[in-house]
Subunit: 124 residues, 2 copies
DNA sequence: CATATACTTGCACAATCCTGCAACTGTTAA
DNA sequence: TTAACAGTTGCAGGATTGTGCAAGTATATG
């Protein structure tokens, strides 16, 4: 046994969350794929342009041209970003006439966005 | 005036969050730099390896070798990732003897991580 | 002081991702 | 059906980023 770790006590329950084992009676229960999925969501949120889109959508559903005009950016760029957000199920789209309205997928996402921005505004 | 947008009503309060203007009496108040900062945080969370680190740190503070052993990865790799997380003030480090203990920076981050993973586990 | 442990940093390679433009699809109106 | 509007998709640069290994720093121990 390598003595790299400081070894708090001699018992064996040393891996509280995500060691290599497959015991699932831990306080924070999560599996490997959930971790990857969560990271994918965070990555999608991790870009100023996309995040700004989401902040607008948090207020209300918008169509693509609305977003493009509000942000002063070409329409294909907006569409592309929405596509990425949709592929992660962060936004959903519904067609209405010749417009496509985008909105946040659920309350969970909404809270995630809000919390992130709140945190960013607080400590800097 | 271009009639690209569907124009819900004729009033002028059409930009609820982040239009180009500089009026700050809106429901969701946030400025440009906050958006970029928030994105930077999300981006840091947006990688499975780093996220896994954070999930471990959510349970308790760990030193680098602990994390390296638990995740079966070379120590420099862990250190590198922690460096990135620290540069975004997502984790903080405190030295204790010959070990350096890392922990989440604050409750806000902890909640962000938890919410993200929870969401990921729910709908897939 | 010299050595071992614990961790950090630098650098180069590879992969991934964002962007912009052009072409294409779908919907409404004449 | 044709034309105009709304949005999507494909593709090729260019930039950013993750990874691995080697070398460097810092702290404790003999």
């Amino acid at each position: 046994m390598s003595k790299t770790q400081p070894k708090r006590n001699a018992t064996e329950d040393d891996a509280p969350t995500c060691a290599g084992g497959d015991h699932d009676h831990q306080p924070v229960k999560f599996d490997d794929s959930a971790c990857e999925r969560a990271a994918a969501i965070f990555r999608a949120l991790g870009e100023p342009q996309r995040l700004r889109l989401l902040i607008m959508l948090e207020a209300r559903a918008c169509c693509v041209s609305e977003l493009a005009e509000a942000l002063s950016e070409p329409l294909p760029a907006i569409s592309q970003r929405l596509r990425i957000l949709k592929s992660e199920r962060i936004v959903r789209s519904r067609r209405q006439g010749k417009h496509v309205y985008y909105s946040l997928a659920d309350e969970h996402i909404s809270r995630l966005v809000t919390n992130g921005v709140m945190h960013a505004m607080e400590d800097e």
